[in-house]
């Protein structure tokens, strides 16, 4: 009886964690913009920048895209440059 109760408790806790912990859903945690063969972050490379922007043209947080801290900073700078030159929108539809 005691054992069964413990098992039930454990399962409940796991389910509760999964609700709030988004990283568990994505097994790949390495940064897609670091390492060898990574694409160069430049405001002229609009195709790449559009991947890291939401439908409403907001910059996606790195906890969703798994971009490293330094690269995220570079990315947001380049997106802002592209916005000034009207290569990318400030607000989406």
């Amino acid at each position: 009886m005691v054992k069964r109760k413990e098992k039930g408790k454990k399962k409940f806790n796991k389910g509760g964690n999964a609700l709030f912990n988004k990283s568990t859903a994505k097994p790949n945690k390495s940064c897609p913009l670091s390492g060898k063969g990574a694409p160069e972050i430049n405001y002229k490379n609009i195709k790449l920048l559009k991947k890291y922007v939401s439908d409403t043209a907001k910059i996606l947080p790195s906890r969703i895209t798994n971009v490293s801290f330094g690269k995220q900073r570079a990315l947001s700078k380049e997106i802002k440059k592209a916005r000034v030159l009207a290569l990318m929108p400030y607000v989406g539809n």
């Binding site: 490379n45 609009i46 929108p89």
Partner: protein
């Protein structure tokens, strides 16, 4: 001496004469401040992500300039008062890239 990357957008209806006169004026300003254009790219007419001064399309020109900060100040002063130029952006860069950017249009 520093390297600068400078992009300006003109009205899409601008003919060759108009764009040549803008370029001549820019070269004149650069010459006065002993600077020069190192590299040049033409991005052609692109649709803008948002309207600028009631324009929905614009002609993009990209320049790489070798010079001092005074040149950029003079250049932006001219561009701010020219009605044919709708937007510009200049930034300091460490070195000039060798390859062409993906936005270049060959014509």
């Amino acid at each position: 001496m520093n390297y600068y990357e400078h992009t300006y957008i003109t009205v899409p209806e601008l003919n060759e004469e108009g764009s040549n006169s803008i370029k001549e004026k820019i070269e004149e300003i650069l010459k006065k401040n002993d600077s020069k254009i190192v590299k040049e790219e033409n991005w052609g007419v692109r649709s803008l992500a948002y309207s600028i001064k009631k324009n929905y399309r614009g002609k993009y020109n990209n320049l790489y300039i070798e010079g001092n900060s005074k040149v950029i100040k003079e250049l932006e002063k001219f561009e701010r008062y020219d009605e044919r130029i709708i937007k510009f952006l200049s930034m300091k860069i460490k070195k000039i890239p060798e390859e062409e950017s993906g936005l270049t249009v060959t014509s």
